[in-house]
Symmetry: C2
Subunit: 124 residues, 2 copies
DNA sequence: CACCACACTTTGCGATGCAAAGTATGACGG
DNA sequence: CCGTCATACTTTGCATCGCAAAGTGTGGTG
């Protein structure tokens, strides 16, 4: 019965990129994918509910992994760090999302077989 | 929060429980929700593609958080650790999944506005 | 000119994931 | 009867990581 059920690694979800699979960075990437023109540091900070230091660190990680690009410039006589997704970042993020969807589907499918199943996969 | 866009924490996803939001533990929980009767240690190990030590540690964390229960018994003259989701575990996992879905939806919605959008959550 | 606000960066630390090594026990071969 | 192997975990150690507090630099304000 080494079927779909007993298969090794059936639920290992290798596709869950460790760089992306992190609360804070997931927030950043989602924010950025929603703002294709890029976002300045302070806006990103507020959108993600992160502290300065925190965001700085995560941006460094994401930049290092070439998922986001960072442009340091000036605006209104102030330093401005503008961030946006790279093409690679977009692609990898979308791949990651596809795996997330798989997780949700797997779990939802399993859970709905139970009486208590309060999962609602389609609510807004 | 009149604006949908500039709202503080719009993408902060507070609901992403740190205990659950972890590749390995997500695997474990998904496996367990798919096997309401519980799973023995070795099966879980293979399903999740984890090493012994790794699984042991994560189970300890999950057990400590009261998300899974662990019964140590005997089977075929061998020690057998049987794991299954607690009621609380099921509930919290389902809550977590709802947030995950929100993440996927947010991102999908933003991404599909782009030409390259290779994401197909349901897109036309 | 002192002071404060803004825009980040760096540092320090406690927590964490992961893998390698350790423990315990039953089965098997000679 | 003894030694070796396999199974079923647990413990330990390290390297990484997230997070928050403190630090840096600069421009505006009274």
């Amino acid at each position: 019965m080494a079927r779909s059920d007993g298969a090794d690694g059936r639920f290992s979800y290798e596709g869950l990129d460790r760089i992306i699979h992190e609360k804070a960075r997931l927030s950043v990437l989602t924010s950025l994918v929603a703002h294709p023109k890029g976002l300045p540091f302070p806006d990103l900070k507020r959108l993600c509910g992160l502290t300065d230091g925190n965001l700085s660190r995560h941006l460094a990680v994401l930049s290092e992994a070439d998922l986001v690009s960072i442009e340091k410039g000036q605006a209104h006589n102030r330093p401005q760090t503008l961030c946006h997704l790279t093409q690679a970042g977009r692609t990898r993020f979308l791949e990651y999302l596809a795996v997330l969807e798989q997780v949700v589907r797997d779990a939802a499918k399993a859970a709905e077989r139970m009486p208590d199943g309060s999962l609602n996969t389609k609510t807004a």
